[in-house]
């Protein structure tokens, strides 16, 4: 018996939640949970965790596109069945981890992965670039200002060497969100790639009455740019809204609330780059990413401007920062004015905050560094 559309509530099961995690722990993990002593990265992408019992858990981390097929997942299962007692896990950055309980099992696993073309690149550990966390983009979202999987593929192709090695001053976390909703939470990443709109919403007067609650659309605007208005549709006066374009910051929240206010546009949309965020509390407090490039155009299929901008920032940092320094810590040590100079990024008025609490970011000291910005 399966689902019976004639009797949809029959045998209904709800609210059972996820399976208990303990059913999926590899045996060495189940045995030593809570009793791990230390870990080491023995080569890029390979970790060993040592337990009080003397047991070792060897982990091989591989990168993956976040958008993956069941076919690829079956292949991952084949690998886990052949080498890992039938267990695997995914990381918070969309890598896959294969675990074995003996050092001798590592090389056969690595050889197997390598034999499968470029499907399972090993890396993403330590002082390198790990997988880019990202959102849906044009593959599945209704509000994106850019694609996600494609931009990430283009950037990771270029940064591949930093995924498979650990030669940076510290880990570099890159994230991409295809609009300001930031499902990908790029607001605290070392390098953030952010899809942005630059045109105010259009108003589809012929549809707005049917698909929107006008008070919600009006209150959705954080800057009060959306106001009640009247328009004539098919000779009849209807209630609608108008937008004060000067106040619009293109956040798209009105569109989220009201499908009759689309703002996406082939020329208006593109990518902003933010830099210097981090989540970890190590040494310095968590930091937000800061906007350093306000706009780069959408240039599918390989987004060369975005790829070049990310690589330039990464490599300038790699050549200048001290061991352990995250990008934001480096930028704060040298000063953001030096960051722009060293990265050869033109500073524009768009990087001067004029939103709420902006004053906190204005310079209120005579301490500054002379850079080429001072003529």
């Amino acid at each position: 018996m399966g689902y019976d559309p004639a009797n949809p509530m029959a045998d209904r099961i709800t609210d059972i939640g996820p399976p208990h995690y303990s059913k999926f722990h590899p045996p060495v993990v189940a045995k030593n949970k809570g009793k791990w002593l230390w870990h080491e990265i023995t080569q890029p992408g390979v970790l060993v965790h040592k337990a009080e019992s003397g047991d070792e858990c060897w982990t091989v981390r591989v990168g993956a596109a976040r958008l993956i097929s069941t076919e690829l997942i079956y292949e991952m299962c084949d690998i886990a069945d052949a080498h890992c007692d039938g267990f695997l896990r995914f990381t918070t950055r969309n890598n896959v981890e294969f675990m074995v309980d003996d050092k001798a099992k590592v090389q056969p696993l690595l050889d197997d992965l390598a034999s499968r073309g470029n499907k399972f690149p090993v890396g993403g550990t330590g002082a390198g670039v790990t997988n880019i966390v990202h959102t849906q983009g044009w593959v599945h979202c209704h509000t994106p200002a850019t694609d996600a999987s494609g931009v990430v593929k283009a950037v990771m192709d270029e940064l591949f060497d930093y995924f498979t090695s650990m030669k940076l001053p510290a880990q570099v976390r890159i994230a991409l969100a295809c609009c300001l909703n930031m499902c990908g939470a790029v607001h605290a990443s070392d390098i953030a790639i952010l899809g942005v709109h630059r045109k105010p919403p259009m108003i589809d007067h012929s549809r707005i009455t049917g698909v929107c609650e006008l008070p919600l659309a009006i209150s959705a605007c954080p800057l009060g740019a959306v106001k009640p208005a009247k328009a004539t549709v098919d000779g009849k006066e209807i209630k609608t809204v108008k937008v004060n374009n000067e106040r619009c910051m293109f956040c798209g929240n009105c569109y989220t609330m009201c499908p009759a206010m689309p703002l996406a546009d082939p020329d208006g949309d593109g990518i902003a780059i933010l830099v210097g965020g981090k989540v970890s509390n190590a040494r310095s407090a968590p930091k937000f990413s800061k906007l350093v490039i306000p706009f780069l155009p959408n240039t599918p299929p390989r987004w060369p401007e975005t790829v070049a901008a990310v690589k330039n920032i990464l490599e300038t940092y790699a050549g200048d920062a001290k061991k352990y320094e995250r990008i934001g810590e480096w930028a704060e040590r040298i000063g953001w004015e030096k960051f722009f100079e060293k990265c050869n990024i033109p500073f524009t008025i768009k990087s001067v905050d004029d939103y709420r609490l902006a004053y906190d970011t204005w310079r209120t000291t005579t301490q500054f560094k002379y850079t080429n910005a001072i003529k």
Partner: protein, 426 residues
């Protein structure tokens, strides 16, 4: 046989990083609907704009969350993606899987859906990408009956909680993040599946201040492991690090020659509180000055361990920028025991205190961090029934605009202006 020409997407089959385009093409050999995913994305690459319609309310009976509706705006060209709803399946804590479970789940998805997935969504769920409306109920029936698995959250509800892998494979976790996440997920099934909040609400559980699940940046309710006694030091291992016999930072810097390990430069001088020093060849720590940032432990994992009296800090109110700008979570409870022994009763009590208040005063689409901003931290601290302590702020206020209550001021606020004028001419 390719159903659509995809010259732009084909460019993304080049290069060393795994290609989602190659992968979708492989899937399309089994499920020809996947050609239409490629076809529509190719059109987006040409038009430089999305071809998905706004929203679409779909779901399974009795649930208000777990399915996100999505329809193509060019269905005649790409009928395979005419309906392309997202199914959010609640992931097991830490995202470990048996291949048996994963194969069965994927077989179910091949049966009912497109065969494309996101492993995983940013909040943590297993995202199954692309399902026709009529397949949603049959999928849900099979998911619950055959797999014993359930949907996650979407909409204005408790979103699927997530955790770092914690004690399962990490020596630093200060409480059992997996058990906390699983227990609270089970405890709050109703809140996950039936939206009743002003907006989304996220729990995240990190085992230590390195915060691998980004709780401090991304969750309304962040439980971040910490300790309150002394860092445990193995002086013999300290000597091994100094002698260069153990790689610093767990070997994370092995790709470049940074020179010999220098404990003064790499550990002591980078300590944000300057609470460490060497006495001879022994490392000393003044733990009363330590803020438990994790740097020294990260650099010398074999020599230093978190203290033994472990628990968590609870921080609240993080969110991405929409609407009022990004916020990190604010430290509300500096230290609390987090234990399955009492079924996380003390954590649950705090959660429900926040919810009771936020559900009453929160505006439509206002994250709790925004409500906290709107009413102010002093009001929030009172709501939580807490005493204000210096740990709640980075620094005290620098403006003098203090709100005094009438009862706090001698004689109250009511005064007689005639009596005032009798003594002070206008």
């Amino acid at each position: 046989m390719a159903k659509h020409d995809t010259p732009l997407l084909d460019e993304l089959e080049k290069g060393p990083w795994p290609s989602f385009v190659t992968d979708i093409k492989r899937q399309a050999e089994k499920n020809p609907d996947c050609w239409d995913i490629l076809g529509q994305v190719e059109l987006s690459y040409k038009d430089k704009i999305t071809h998905w319609k706004h929203g679409g309310i779909v779901g399974v009976f009795g649930y208000g969350g777990g399915i996100v509706g999505r329809y193509s705006d060019v269905p005649a060209q790409f009928p395979g993606v005419e309906h392309f709803h997202t199914v959010r399946v609640n992931q097991p804590a830490s995202k470990y899987y048996s291949t048996e479970n994963l194969r069965a789940l994927m077989a179910l998805w091949d049966k009912h859906g497109s065969g494309m997935t996101n492993m995983h969504g940013s909040t943590g769920d297993i995202i199954l990408l692309g399902c026709r409306t009529e397949a949603l109920e049959p999928f849900f029936y099979d998911l619950t009956h055959e797999m014993g698995q359930d949907l996650g959250g979407s909409g204005s509800n408790l979103r699927t909680p997530a955790n770092c892998l914690g004690q399962s494979r990490c020596e630093w976790a200060c409480y059992d993040t997996e058990e906390a996440c699983h227990h609270l997920t089970m405890h709050y099934q109703d809140e996950i599946h039936r939206p009743a909040f002003p907006y989304k609400f996220k729990f995240k559980f990190s085992g230590c201040a390195n915060d691998c699940v980004a709780a401090l940046a991304r969750s309304d309710f962040a439980v971040i492991g910490t300790w309150r006694d002394n860092i445990r030091i193995d002086q013999a291992a300290v000597k091994e690090y100094i002698a260069g016999n153990i790689a610093s930072n767990g070997g994370a810097h092995s790709g470049k020659d940074w020179g010999a390990f220098d404990i003064q430069k790499e550990v002591i001088n980078l300590c944000p509180t300057e609470c460490m020093w060497m006495e001879g060849d022994e490392l000393k720590i003044d733990d009363s000055e330590c803020t438990r940032c994790m740097h020294c432990i990260n650099v010398m994992p074999r020599a230093l361990r978190p203290g033994a009296e472990q628990g968590a800090s609870i921080c609240m109110g993080a969110k991405a920028p929409i609407l009022d700008g990004a916020q990190f979570a604010t430290l509300i409870i500096p230290f609390i025991k987090v234990s399955a022994d009492n079924e996380f009763e003390n954590v649950i009590e705090i959660i429900e205190n926040v919810w009771d208040w936020w559900m009453e005063v929160g505006k439509n689409r206002e994250r709790v961090g925004e409500t906290m901003q709107r009413v102010g931290l002093p009001t929030f601290i009172k709501v939580m029934g807490l005493d204000p302590i210096p740990q709640h702020v980075k620094e005290p206020r620098s403006n003098p605009y203090v709100f005094w209550d009438e009862e706090e001021v001698e004689g109250g606020f009511e005064r007689d202006v005639d009596e005032f004028r009798a003594r002070h001419a206008a």
